[in-house]
């Protein structure tokens, strides 16, 4: 087994694809407006013609690279390259103001690596165990897990819960289109053969994330691009190393846990890690003034999500975040169904993913410390040329998935919808959660009742079901109780 895994990963072709993936990922992440989700969605069609292991590792490389790459523009331009890097701005840009952007980028690189490695170790230790436990999951447990994931919408919608719910419900509604998986009844297809098998997930994602963002870029297409300062001395100093080594592993673990929760992605991982570091710090007042902890925590946190998100994806076929949802698509295209069977029938593949992901993190560290100047150059590609090219990539990407022009229309439609949603301050992330978890909730709810012949007691019949029930209640009610407690203390 070990020999097979080593030989399947350590060959020139695979390592080459990992390096290409990480490199592309860092470039995509560094460019404001190109997110990790979009990067992985756009690279996905390239893997159709490839074998499973290099294909998946290429995508994982893009994922890992993009989550890290977002910090480059966060630190240098005060614009997060990906939403995951939004928390990095708080302290990162302060470094640049002092002319220490090299130091900030060095801290970010090493912290991302630490967070990523922690998550890969967690992935490697937890998934095989969870895969065994996953056999205990039946329809009621999957239903409650999906509901728990959907309850996360409440905590990611920020100031407007009703908009978050609207958007999540929109995602669920899209998932109704097509043949009903329990009765075979065609729903909302309006006699259109293209709608029979349902909305294609990837074109919707490309539209909502990539195309809508490209439209937003058009608004400022004629304002000159920002100029970045020169960077020097990336290698962290001794005292910075100390900070990274103290904060990195903790934030990595936090990120991994956030990643495991279905639906919660890297941006939440970064903010929670930042909050935790600030709360437990001896000098919380210094956060926001440009201290190393302020970069180490969110960067280790968001890269910690990468491995965590793969845990439920590989073991149960439940995506930990939007990128993991695309990776499920990538595996299915290869004829591989994520789930516990993957661990018994494709063991080599699973462990190759673990090892390949570790190599991706090492590649990220090496590229980050050695070639930062190159990535900063990417930031100077004029958006007037880049944006039209993104248009083409969106069109070709959504066509290539099913070689169906209908999907191109779907992509464009959701690009326009997504643009106006952003205008009305409606975040598109809950829609993705709804699109992924909605059908999982619905089909398993009805499948459970089919199995129990209509008896609702099946939803309370196992400890796993109870755990998810409690977690859901805590997620929904927790913030309100916390709020009340805080108000009480204040008064």
């Amino acid at each position: 087994m070990l020999v097979e895994v080593l030989s399947s990963v350590f060959n020139l072709q695979i390592v080459f694809f990992i390096i290409v993936g990480v490199f592309t990922g860092i470039c995509i992440g560094a460019l404001p407006g190109l997110t990790a989700t979009m990067g992985v969605a756009l690279v996905l069609p390239l893997t159709f013609g490839m074998d499973a292991i290099p294909g998946i590792l290429l995508l994982i490389g893009v994922y890992v690279g993009a989550i890290y790459g977002g910090s480059i523009s966060a630190i240098l331009l005060r614009t997060p390259g990906t939403p995951a890097a939004a928390a990095t701005i708080l302290d990162g840009y302060e470094f640049s103001k002092r002319g220490e952007s090299g130091r900030a980028l060095g801290i970010s690189t090493v912290s991302s690596f630490v967070g990523g490695v922690v998550s890969v170790i967690a992935l490697w230790l937890i998934s095989p165990q969870l895969a065994k436990l996953a056999l205990r999951f039946s329809a009621p447990e999957f239903f409650l897990l999906a509901i728990f994931g959907l309850s996360i919408i409440a905590s990611i919608s920020g100031n407007s819960l009703s908009k978050g719910v609207l958007c999540g419900a929109l995602g669920i509604t899209l998932s109704f289109i097509g043949i009903d998986s329990i009765t075979g009844y065609p729903r909302f297809v309006f006699n259109n053969i293209n709608l029979l098998s349902g909305m294609s997930f990837i074109p919707v994602m490309i539209g909502l994330f990539a195309m809508s963002q490209a439209f937003t870029t058009i608004e400022t297409i004629f304002t000159p691009d920002q100029v970045t300062q020169k960077i020097s001395k990336v290698w962290p100093s001794k005292s910075d190393w100390k900070v990274i080594m103290r904060q990195g592993p903790i934030s990595g673990v936090i990120g991994t846990i956030i990643g495991i929760i279905p639906g919660a992605g890297a941006e939440i991982g970064a903010f929670v890690s930042y909050g935790q570091a600030k709360k437990t710090s001896r000098h919380p007042e210094l956060f926001g003034t440009g201290i190393p902890e302020g970069i180490a925590a969110p960067e280790a946190g968001n890269n910690g999500v990468t491995g965590g998100a793969l845990i439920p994806m590989l073991t149960m076929g439940v995506p930990g975040d939007a990128v993991a949802a695309i990776l499920i698509g990538a595996l299915t295209v290869q004829g591989l169904q994520p789930g516990p069977l993957l661990f018994t029938e494709h063991t080599t593949l699973v462990y190759s993913i673990f090892l390949g992901m570790f190599i991706a993190n090492v590649t990220m560290l090496v590229l980050g410390l050695s070639s930062l100047k190159l990535f900063v150059k990417v930031l100077s590609v004029p958006k007037g040329i880049l944006t039209p090219m993104i248009f083409i990539l969106c069109v070709v990407g959504s066509y290539a998935i099913n070689t169906n022009f209908f999907d191109v229309g779907v992509m464009l439609f959701f690009g326009i919808v997504g643009y106006f949603m952003q205008k009305a301050d409606v975040s598109v992330s809950p829609a993705v959660l709804g699109l992924i978890l909605g059908p999982m909730a619905e089909s398993n709810f009805r499948r459970a009742l089919l199995m129990s012949e209509g008896s609702y007691s099946i939803f309370f019949s196992s400890p796993i079901a109870w755990i998810f029930l409690l977690l859901t209640i805590v997620t929904l009610v927790g913030p309100t109780i916390g709020e009340m407690a805080r108000k009480k203390r204040q008064s």
């Binding site: 169906n404 229309g409 499948r447 199995m451």
Partner: protein, 323 residues
Amino acid sequence: MKKILVTLLLLSLTFGAVFAQGVGEASADTYPSGPVSVIVPYAAGGGTDLIARALVDAAKGNFPKNITVENRTGGGGAVGMSYGANAKPDGSVITMITVELVTLPHTGTGAGLYYDQFEPIMMLNSAYSAITVKADSPYNTLNEFLDAAKTKNMRVGNSGVGAIWHLAAAGLAKTAGVNFNHIPFDGAAPAITSLLGGHIDAITVSYAEVDSQVRAGNLKVLAVLAPERISATPDIPTAKELGYDVAIGTWRGFGVPKNTPKAIVDKIYSFFSVAAQSPGFIQYMANTNNIIDVLDGAEYGKKLAVDNAMFKALIDELGLKQQ
């Protein structure tokens, strides 16, 4: 207004795709005078796609102007097969047809598809349903299982409502005079997982799909719904031997649009039947647990008609017809 525009746009896209086909000359002597495409109605990388690609790879020497595989997915196979059925009848577009060709029209989700739109060239492979239970299940034979089903409501998992393995379970129940509680899953793998976890009583997916779990000692196969024993597993009885005359399975083959000149059909058959005997293809099929089962156009055409009638009756009985 915007809605109308979008609708128009979508319509034009759909029609555009239908009319945008390669051009080729319809003459048997010079066939193939242009590039030929093989339409696979399922996603790239899936079981059907890989078999099509393996065969095309073995046959490509006969197509000097290039032969390519095109995946046109959607509608559970209806999109790709409809596309292939409406192509020019000159052999430039060959379609991989699957058992869904004779099931989808009866569930009302075939979008006008019917098997007689195709001129069958040859059947390439087949896979029959295997009645599989957990290794520690109290039932050791099909008869024990079906006897128990008379009093107990057996939960039988399948790979999707109206899919071939659902019909297989229904066909067995009908022959045996029992009722199953059919539990549909999204594909075979989740059904197998659920059986392994002990949440359902049996599954009816193909033998190839449960092979590794049977070898690992986690599952056992009570019988296969095949006309005769499968050569890879000679010790598993068929349902027919046990007194239940039912054989249901999936198959894959090739077809061209109706009215394609007979000479071209024969030429494609000769190319493909030779390719199906090539060592590379045989090796590939053996590695992937697939069974090569070649029928010529005439035999295949008969099978299409027989299966079509059988599935029509089953689907009507199950109440799976929509609208």
